[in-house]
């Protein structure tokens, strides 16, 4: 689970690093991705493993539209206006989904990956294993893209210093749009993977988005490898907390962990100010 959290959070972190803006509609992006995976299955009989790239492209498109339709217009606005732009988008998407798809809990039936495997006496569901592997692969791809390709480096440069980057001839506007596309694609993959073993309904994004914010803040805003590490920590803490204390409190433990960490390191575990 931690790896999927990390992938959800990576998109958020990337966007924040680029333009210091928290996308409060991130959970709703995840929800859309899960619906994409569901309809790919129900209409075209595509397994979520296959439809993950489709969801990535679709959500990349959503990210692009969001940037050009909404975010570009509030870039110079105060932080509160930016929060509300994305929050309004979240309300719009969530209730739009309810309007269009209804409130029923949907599931993808008979995915390719089913059953469970036993690792050293612990039973782990095969879909979860598959999702973790796929999330790790997507993460690796993202990391290589950011650190090995010219476009990726340009993106990183823009995140570090917008003005210097534009002086070096980087089109920062394009980089922002690209950041939203990639951020959307990350959450698209994560959503399709989650659709294998999670109910799909309009409000599904909420808890995941909350965990994603904590993951991002824990790893340090804008720090992609830090996000991966923080995602794994959050996943582990949540699973262990579920074993040791009543499961209802497991999210609280994650939040308490976050508060304790920021008391000690306000910029997150791996962050820079």
């Amino acid at each position: 689970m931690g790896l999927v959290y990390a992938l959800v959070a990576a998109g958020l972190s990337l966007i924040f690093g680029l333009m210091e803006l928290v996308n409060f509609a991130h959970g709703e992006f995840l929800m859309l991705a899960m619906y994409v995976a569901f309809f790919a299955w129900s209409l075209a009989r595509l397994d979520p493993v296959v439809s993950a790239p489709v969801a990535a492209v679709a959500l990349g498109g959503v990210g692009w539209l969001t940037y050009h339709g909404l975010i570009r217009r509030v870039l110079g606005a105060p932080m509160l206006a930016q929060i509300f732009a994305t929050f309004g988008l979240a309300v719009f998407l969530r209730n739009g989904a309810q309007f269009a798809f209804g409130v029923d809990f949907l599931t993808v039936k008979d995915p390719w990956l089913a059953g469970r495997v036993s690792v050293a006496g612990l039973f782990i569901g095969l879909p979860q294993v598959g999702a973790s592997v796929a999330a790790l692969a997507a993460f690796l791809a993202l990391y290589l893209f950011l650190s090995r390709t010219e476009t990726g480096l340009a993106l990183t440069a823009t995140a570090q210093d917008r003005q210097a980057a534009s002086l070096m001839g980087i089109d920062t506007e394009r980089m922002f749009a690209l950041g939203w596309v990639i951020g959307g694609a990350c959450v698209g993959v994560a959503g399709a993977l989650l659709a294998m073993f999670f109910y799909i309904y309009p409000d599904v994004g909420g808890p995941f988005a909350l965990l994603a914010y904590v993951t991002v803040a824990l790893g340090g805003f804008g720090n992609v490898p830090g996000t991966l590490a923080a995602g794994v920590i959050v996943g582990l803490v949540e699973a262990l907390a579920g074993l040791l204390i009543p499961p209802a409190f497991k999210y609280s433990v994650v939040f308490v962990l976050y508060l304790v960490v920021v008391l000690w390191r306000p910029q997150g575990l791996f962050g820079r100010f």
Binding site: F16, E20, V22, L70, R73, V74, A77, P78, M79, L80, A81, Q82, I83, F84, A85, F87, G88, L89, A90, V91, F92, L93, R94, N95, G96, Q98, F99, V103, L210, Y213, V214, A217, F221, P246, A248, F249, Y251, S252, F255, V256, Y258, L259, V262, L263, P266, Q267, G268
Partner: protein, 329 residues
């Protein structure tokens, strides 16, 4: 001219329930006053001091739960419960503020979301306070001011809500003009510069938080006595925290009248769309609500107060010193 207008408006508000005797218009006005008061309280911390809290539902819930528990357990009048709730919320806010104020900007906002979630989960699972079942306020008859319950009409609730709003606005006005208000604005503009000039930043932030939390808790008690039933889903949710600041942002943060203006626009709109389009299970009213929020953020990021000021400037009306200082900031 302005004074005459203000006096007319005030008397219209005071006389409103004498003219409109049906419950719905009174309910809408009460909600405007309540959300206006909550947003005004939030505005003290966020608008003046620049600390954007997304966890104010915690204080609302503390206010609602404190007075209700006191009524249930020791039959204390909700008026004293209200006071106790405000004090308790102030104390809670100090505990929350201590770690959270080390953070800035988005980190602070997310930490307050985290606190809100922790509190909501805890109350949901805490049997002593009713857990997820919630609490009923014991019904007392006949209606009396002491019991803070009025079943015959919303008449008295109307004036209590109005008084609550007046209190929140009064406190804001008082802070705005005091030395403290200047400290708050200095912290908002540039925390480090303020600290270097000798503003006790941490202490002032905590003070803003305490006042804001206590006023929010008063609203919580009012809500409990108004609907006579509370549960964690209705008084502690993140959506309430966000709604409070949405109202303030819509009106314009950092100004005295902005939050009230936001409430006066948003509440009738949401009640209206709810009545017209809600109840179909299709959530169309909330779709429109979301689109509206985006439109405001894009076209009027300074809130409706910004619009009012632009109009005022165009007509050549001399702005009051307060308004001029705000628009210069």
């Amino acid at each position: 001219m302005r004074r005459v207008l203000a006096a007319l408006l005030l008397s219209a508000v005071v006389l409103f329930p004498l003219v409109f005797t049906r419950p719905f218009p009174r309910h809408v006005m009460i909600m405007i006053f309540l959300y206006g008061a909550l947003a005004t309280a939030w505005n003290i911390l966020a608008g003046y001091c620049g600390q954007i809290s997304l966890g104010h539902a915690v204080y609302f819930g503390v206010g609602a739960y404190t007075s209700t528990l006191l009524v249930r357990e020791i039959a204390l009048t909700p008026w004293l419960g209200m006071l106790a709730g405000a004090v308790l919320a102030g104390l809670v806010s100090q505990v929350v503020g201590y770690p959270c104020f080390r953070l800035r900007g988005h980190y602070f906002a997310i930490a307050t979301i985290g606190v809100g979630e922790i509190v909501q989960t805890s109350v949901l699972n805490w049997d002593l306070v009713g857990a997820a079942r919630g609490l009923f306020v014991p019904i007392k008859r006949p209606d009396s001011l002491l019991n803070f319950q009025f079943h015959q009409s919303k008449f008295v609730y109307y004036y209590i809500a109005l008084a609550l709003l007046g209190l929140a606005l009064g406190v804001t006005r008082w802070i705005e003009r005091s030395r403290r208000g200047h400290y708050f604005r200095a912290i908002k503009e540039d925390q480090d510069a303020a600290a270097s000039l000798g503003v006790p930043v941490a202490r002032e932030k905590q003070a803003a938080m305490a006042v804001s939390a206590a006023l929010t808790a008063l609203g919580g008690t009012f809500w409990a006595q108004y609907v006579l039933f509370i549960d964690p889903e209705s008084v502690f949710p993140l959506s309430l925290s966000i709604l409070i600041c949405l109202v303030a942002v819509l009106g314009g943060v950092g100004s005295l009248w902005g939050p009230l203006l936001g409430a006066a626009v948003l509440v009738p709109l949401s009640e209206g769309t709810r009545v017209l389009l809600g109840g179909t299970g299709k959530a169309l009213d909330l779709v429109i609500y979301g689109a509206l929020i985006m439109a405001i953020a894009v076209f009027q990021p300074a809130g409706l107060m910004g619009l009012v000021r632009q109009l005022g400037a165009r007509r050549g009306i001399a702005a009051s010193p307060g308004a001029r200082r705000e628009s210069a900031a």
